[in-house]
Symmetry: C2
Subunit: 346 residues, 2 copies
Amino acid sequence: MLESNVRTDIAALGEFGLIQHLIDHFPTKQKTTVLGPGDDAAVLQRDSKTYGLLSTELWLEGVHFDLAFHPLKHLGFKLVVAGVSDILAMNGKPEQIWVNLGLSNRFSLEAVEELYAGIQIACEQYGLDLAGGDTTSSRSGLSLSIQAYGWVDKKKITKRSGAKPGDLLCVSGDLGGAYMGLQILEREKRVFAEHPDMQPDLEPYDYIVGRQLKPDARLDVIKHWEDLGVVPTSAMDVSDGVASELRHMAKLSGVGFDVYEEKLPIDPQTLDTAVSFDLNPSVVALNGGEDYEMVFTVAQSDYEKIHKHVDFSVIGHATELKDQIRLVTRAGSAFEVKAQGWPQTH
Amino acid sequence: MLESNVRTDIAALGEFGLIQHLIDHFPTKQKTTVLGPGDDAAVLQRDSKTYGLLSTELWLEGVHFDLAFHPLKHLGFKLVVAGVSDILAMNGKPEQIWVNLGLSNRFSLEAVEELYAGIQIACEQYGLDLAGGDTTSSRSGLSLSIQAYGWVDKKKITKRSGAKPGDLLCVSGDLGGAYMGLQILEREKRVFAEHPDMQPDLEPYDYIVGRQLKPDARLDVIKHWEDLGVVPTSAMDVSDGVASELRHMAKLSGVGFDVYEEKLPIDPQTLDTAVSFDLNPSVVALNGGEDYEMVFTVAQSDYEKIHKHVDFSVIGHATELKDQIRLVTRAGSAFEVKAQGWPQTH
């Protein structure tokens, strides 16, 4: 039954194209569905003042993680971070998670306990309840899915679709570290395969390796927004990379974005490592995923509140040039940031 | 990092033992978590009169389904049924689902469209919105997870834990059909492997094969309860098999159950096929999974309302013999129904 006269390769559409293609056939029927697919989390009616928020992710071994260098405890922690980060990106408060687990018989009870120890640490750190999940055997490898539920004040929800031309584009923390950490871990894995007696020295890369293996969920960013009296006009978390997130925000908001290269927040270790790998640090900052920082827009009138905050960087602004994401270089030239294949000539 | 001095095989605990072992370390912290792991769905605060309900399942190729005989369209439909059935088992109204999809490159766009066509038919039939999901590549096989969200009137919630000694034990529909359908499909698969020129004739088995490939979610059962003015004292859906579900209900309610063999509702096709496979039909009815019927208890005072309903069977009652599930045979003997390994001598 997998046969058919026509066979279209899914790669031709890409992940986002596939999702869009599939959900086109699903009209919304329930009045409790405030917002369906397409944002960081679905938005549900909850009570007169708040919405419920639900997000879900599927992580498969060999695609999302490599157990050669992802310790199971860290993996459990990171899975929770990825789940709740989507709730935070809606300016929501995450409160419950569910974890589904598919295990092949190569995993012992002690291995699963390690995974759950990481999940437990994340639950304690972020004040979450593990509210359920499904556990099953698998034919091969480790399959994980995480669901996160939270809520948001109706007046403070931050969707992807609210950016207006002139709004300031901001990010929390710094960018590209998790991606460069992954490059280091993959390099050390190759070295170890060839020279099993060599012990990797990851200490010079402690920050970026930590960004890859044990990222933080930015609950503090939501708190900062509240303390500063700012409600972003749009927001996303940085999971696929800022450039990818900006394309989503641009499309749904009907705007474009100009990003100033000199404003991109890049940690010195990320920068040095990128250079040593012969990678352009700005490309790394724009396209590197898994930082779980927040990328968001605010009205210009909020500039004073935002720009002084040590954890936020204003990196550009929204424009009227729909769907155009441009990088303005230090020299003042503007390059269009293309999907994935950003020009190598830059 | 999968190495450790101690290695305990997960099979030693079993799925439920593993889950219990893992969640023991997770205390509930949020007051919005009304009920965490251990029931068909988690129960969340929603508004003053209703609870939110969330359930999730993970289905992996080769474990939960065999694409040699599960058409993708039917599989999509059945996945939704399994998801919403857990909401129904709490006497809840399912309204949203999320589907996560991990696909290897052997799946074409047309194959995924078939899967989603089945999901869409289920959404239309049951009035559900597809509110989101995650789509990713996989190294091998098809991974699916379903999340379902719904709500229930606080006064009408049916947990696993509410059965009291003397309550009547009831089921909707009939039992064991999906299991016998699976036996037929697996037999035909073996025959086809040996004789590829033989076309299987499934027509004599249309009902039980349909029970396996395209079960119904019993939204009508919830409606019947409402129309009859009955709120069950406990309920579960039949996914692992009645005997397994009764063990959960017994444990959480602090009761036992006596089941009367002669009262077990078994379709003639299920019965005939069981006999032709040299299987005891009562064992099939008790241990066969995936019927997605409702097993529930009601107060004795509701007997008149329930026993006349054509779709419900009263099959026994709750007893004070904690955790003892007994089958009372036609001859009047009572056998204890052991976990999985129910005595072959019966």
